[in-house]
């Protein structure tokens, strides 16, 4: 069947990217094959493993279950956009410090899911973290250190959130900064 290509424009990790794609192209292929962002992995055919998780307009989604054309006009954050060696995201730091990975195949998806979770709930309980990670499968770690990594990140993030609040409160009082 003849099918027309469609224009898709997505802001990926802060950079606007446009391409003509087949409507059937999955977002994960757009990212990996189209843009060379191979940090987003593909681990299954059944939308279950979560290795392909990215943030779509700030929410964790499985990019193997979203058409690129559905993401047209949206913001996408992949693991490449999270941080770099000099400036790790608290979640990346948590995985480093708490040894949250072994083979690393699931890690990008797990980290993006964790970032999505912490956006929705900055102070999750251990149970909430485990529930929040239901959509990712890890065949290596047994999840213990992944949970510790997310707890580490949550603590770091609420710490800096606290600082920001203190700073903001200082501004409001009109007494100037520190």
């Amino acid at each position: 069947m003849e099918t027309g290509k469609v224009n898709v424009t997505v802001t990926v990790n802060g950079v606007r990217r446009s391409a003509m794609v087949e409507p059937r192209m999955l977002l994960v292929h757009f990212l990996r094959d189209g843009l060379g962002l191979v940090g987003t992995h593909i681990g299954c055919d059944t939308s279950q493993c979560g290795a392909c998780t990215v943030l779509l307009d700030g929410e964790a989604v499985k990019s193997c279950t979203v058409l690129a054309v559905q993401a047209d006009g949206s913001d996408v954050t992949t693991v490449e956009g999270l941080g770099d060696m000099e400036n790790l995201h608290p979640v990346q730091e948590g995985f480093w410090e708490k040894h949250g990975l072994q083979c690393g195949f699931c890690t990008p998806g797990v980290m993006m899911t964790a970032v999505g979770l912490l956006k929705q709930n900055l102070n999750p309980t251990e149970e909430e973290i485990r529930e929040g990670l239901e959509g990712v499968l890890c065949r290596c770690t047994g999840y213990q250190n992944i949970v510790r990594a997310v707890q580490y990140a949550a603590a770091r993030m609420s710490e800096s959130e606290g600082h920001r609040e203190v700073a903001a409160a200082g501004d409001d009082s009109g007494e100037g900064g520190r």
Partner: protein, 285 residues
């Protein structure tokens, strides 16, 4: 793994989507959150020639209270439903069920309308739609109509949705003040879908006797159903452990249980009784 090629159109209004459906003459499928359709297309269980994306029609999203009903737009996501203050206050059983669908990523994309229109026999929301006597607002070539949840689910992936029509919103009856409700599911260990799911809504009169009971059950049969025998047996009795044991035995009465590699019909009948007991026991406190 990618879907077969298809034509894609993004509809900007319900009217436009209906026209596109008509023009496609049965070739097209609607695309909402894509979390039932795309997994099926990826493994080629279905290969529609055309997709009509309704995902950006603003009027299809949102939750509002209208009298004693809660109206949920078809495109409202599971996550929005689970977190919504109106739902949590007036129909907590709906929030409870929505928060148990799949995982965070699925709940961020999947929609209430897509879940119900898809009518997967293992979906969670059909049980709640039945227990909250939902009404489905539908728009098609001949205008709008309202369908009862009771007659909506006809078979696996088969509904009473008329041809070329779109489910625009679902209105759930708010249980009477003081009613107790819960949704309890036994999730399939791999897929997370319901092997059995029981939605129970029970009201008690001033005399301490049950005066209204609605039990929706999903996962075990070809479609979700209301356990009418069990409901009838509850009314007029005091909700006690003894009563619960008696009525739960009726929860699969008159239903043919589904059977597959994971759970035989006999096991599903057993699970239906056990999960009905557990669900109703939660209402004791």
């Amino acid at each position: 793994m990618i879907p077969s090629a298809f034509d894609y159109t993004r509809a900007t209004s319900v009217e436009e989507a209906v026209k596109l459906l008509q023009a496609a003459g049965g070739e097209a499928k609607l695309l909402a959150g894509g979390h039932s359709l795309l997994p099926m297309m990826k493994i080629k269980l279905t290969s529609p020639g055309k997709l009509i994306d309704i995902g950006r029609i603003k009027e299809l999203s949102g939750i509002r209270k209208e009298g004693n009903r809660l109206v949920v737009g078809a495109l409202t996501t599971h996550r929005q439903v689970a977190a919504d203050p109106l739902v949590r206050k007036y129909a907590p059983v709906l929030a409870e069920a929505a928060s148990q669908i799949g995982d965070i990523q699925v709940r961020n994309r999947g929609t209430v309308g897509g879940n119900l229109a898809h009518a997967d026999p293992a979906s969670d929301l059909p049980a709640v739609a039945l227990a909250l006597e939902a009404e489905f607002e539908v728009q098609g070539p001949d205008g709008k109509e309202t369908l009862d949840a009771g007659g909506f689910f006809l078979g696996p992936l088969i509904t009473a949705l008329p041809e070329n029509s779109i489910l625009t919103s679902v209105s759930f009856a708010i249980p009477p003040e003081g009613a107790k409700s819960t949704y309890l599911k036994y999730p399939h260990p791999a897929s997370g879908y319901a092997v059995v799911g029981v939605a129970a809504v029970v009201s008690t009169g001033p005399d301490g006797m049950v005066n209204d009971a609605r039990i929706g059950i999903t996962g075990v049969a070809d479609t979700a159903y209301r356990a009418e025998e069990a409901e009838r047996a509850l009314v007029g009795k005091k909700l006690s452990e003894q009563t619960i044991l008696e009525v739960a035995a009726l929860a699969s009465e008159g239903q043919e249980m589904a059977s597959d590699l994971f759970a035989s019909a006999e096991y599903r009948r057993h699970l239906t009784r056990v999960y009905t007991i557990r669900a109703l026991k939660r209402l004791l406190i």
